[in-house]
C-alpha cells in the first residue's frame, strides 16, 4: 500500500517542480519572503498557467504524502518523496535547458544515493 502512495508522490512532485520552475523563470527575481515578495509570487501563480498546473501537481503530491504518513513513519515518508531527484535533474537539463555542471550531477547523485540508503 505505501509503495502506491510513494509512486503517486514521485510522479506528481516531479511534474510539480519542473512545470512551476519553467513558469517562474520568466518573471523578475524575488529575493525575500516579505509581503511584497509573497504578493509577487501569488500574482505569478494566477497569471502563469504552467505555475498553476505545477501547483496542482504539488497538491496531488501533498495529498498522496498525507495518505503515506498514515501508513508509514515520517523518516521513511519524507525521503521517499525524494526518489524523483535524478528524474527532476534530467528534466532540468532536457526540458528546462539548464547547464547542469559536474558538481550538480554529483550532488544530485549523492542526494539520490543518500535517499536510497534511508529507504533501506
Amino acid at each position: 500500500m505505501k509503495w502506491i502512495f510513494v509512486a503517486l508522490v514521485v510522479v506528481s512532485s516531479t511534474l510539480g517542480d519542473v512545470l512551476s520552475a519553467k513558469g517562474m523563470k520568466r518573471e523578475e527575481e524575488v529575493e525575500s519572503l516579505g509581503p511584497q515578495g509573497i504578493l509577487r509570487v501569488l500574482h505569478d501563480i494566477v497569471t502563469q498557467p504552467l505555475v498553476l498546473i505545477g501547483i496542482l501537481n504539488n497538491a496531488i503530491s501533498f495529498c498522496s504524502f498525507l495518505a503515506l504518513l498514515s501508513v508509514a513513519e515520517l523518516s521513511f515518508a519524507a525521503p521517499a518523496t525524494a526518489a524523483a531527484y535524478i528524474l527532476k535533474v534530467l528534466l532540468a537539463k532536457w526540458y528546462l535547458g539548464e547547464c547542469v555542471t559536474w558538481r550538480r550531477w554529483a550532488g544530485a547523485l549523492l542526494v539520490g544515493i543518500g535517499v536510497t540508503l534511508v529507504l533501506l
Binding site: 517542480d17 519542473v18 512551476s20 520552475a21 517562474m24 523563470k25 518573471e27 523578475e28 524575488v30 529575493e31 525575500s32 519572503l33 515578495g37 509573497i38 509570487v41 501569488l42 505569478d44 501563480i45 505555475v51 501547483i55 504539488n58 501533498f62 504524502f65 498525507l66 495518505a67 504518513l69 498514515s70 501508513v71 513513519e73 515520517l74 523518516s75 519524507a78 525521503p79 525524494a82 531527484y85 527532476k88 535533474v89 528534466l91 532540468a92 537539463k93 528546462l96 535547458g97 539548464e98 547547464c99 547542469v100 555542471t101 558538481r103 550538480r104 550532488g107 544530485a108 547523485l109 549523492l110 542526494v111 544515493i113 543518500g114 535517499v115 540508503l117 534511508v118 529507504l119 533501506l120
Partner: protein
C-alpha cells in the same frame, strides 16, 4: 558558459530565503506527522469522513500553513536559481527532518538512515558551492 556575478547584498538575502524554505518544509512535515499520528489508517471506503478528520486537526492546519509558505518560498527561489541548484540545496531539509523525527517524534532512526543523511549532506555541500544560475549563451548548447 558564463557565470553571472551576484548583486551586492544578494548572497545574504539568498541564504536567508533558502534557510526559510528548508525550515518551513521540515517543521511543516513534523507538524503533519504529529497530526497524522492520531488518525486511523487510510481506507478508500471512507474518504469523505477521513478528509473531514484531517482538515479539523490543528497540527495539520499549522503544518499545512507552513508548507504553503514553503511552496511560495520555493517558487521565489525559481525566479533566480536553476531547478538543478534548488533541488539538491533544499534537500538539506531531509537532514533537518531526520533530526526532528529523532528528537520530537522519538522515531528510531537506524544507522543506515543516518549514513544516508550524511551522504545527502555531502551532496548538498557540493551543489551549494555552484552559482545558483548558470547562463548558457545562444548557440553553445552542450
Amino acid at each position: 558558459m558564463k557565470v553571472l556575478p551576484g548583486k551586492a547584498g544578494s548572497n545574504l538575502k539568498h541564504a536567508l530565503l533558502i534557510a526559510a524554505v528548508v525550515m518551513s518544509n521540515s517543521v511543516g512535515n513534523l507538524f503533519l506527522a504529529f497530526g497524522m499520528r492520531n488518525m486511523p489508517e487510510f481506507h478508500f471506503g471512507s474518504v469523505l469522513r477521513y478528509v473531514l478528520l484531517v482538515v479539523s486537526n490543528p497540527w495539520i492546519i499549522v503544518g499545512t500553513a507552513l508548507l504553503i509558505l514553503f511552496m511560495i518560498g520555493q517558487l521565489s527561489l525559481f525566479t533566480w536559481a536553476d531547478l538543478s541548484y534548488v533541488l539538491p540545496v533544499t534537500a538539506s531539509g531531509y537532514i533537518v527532518t531526520a533530526i526532528l523525527s529523532r528528537v520530537f517524534l522519538h522515531e528510531n532512526v537506524s544507522n543506515m538512515r543516518w549514513t544516508g543523511v550524511v551522504i545527502i549532506a555531502f551532496g548538498v555541500m557540493l551543489v551549494a558551492e555552484t552559482p545558483p544560475h548558470v547562463e548558457i549563451p545562444a548557440g553553445d548548447q552542450t
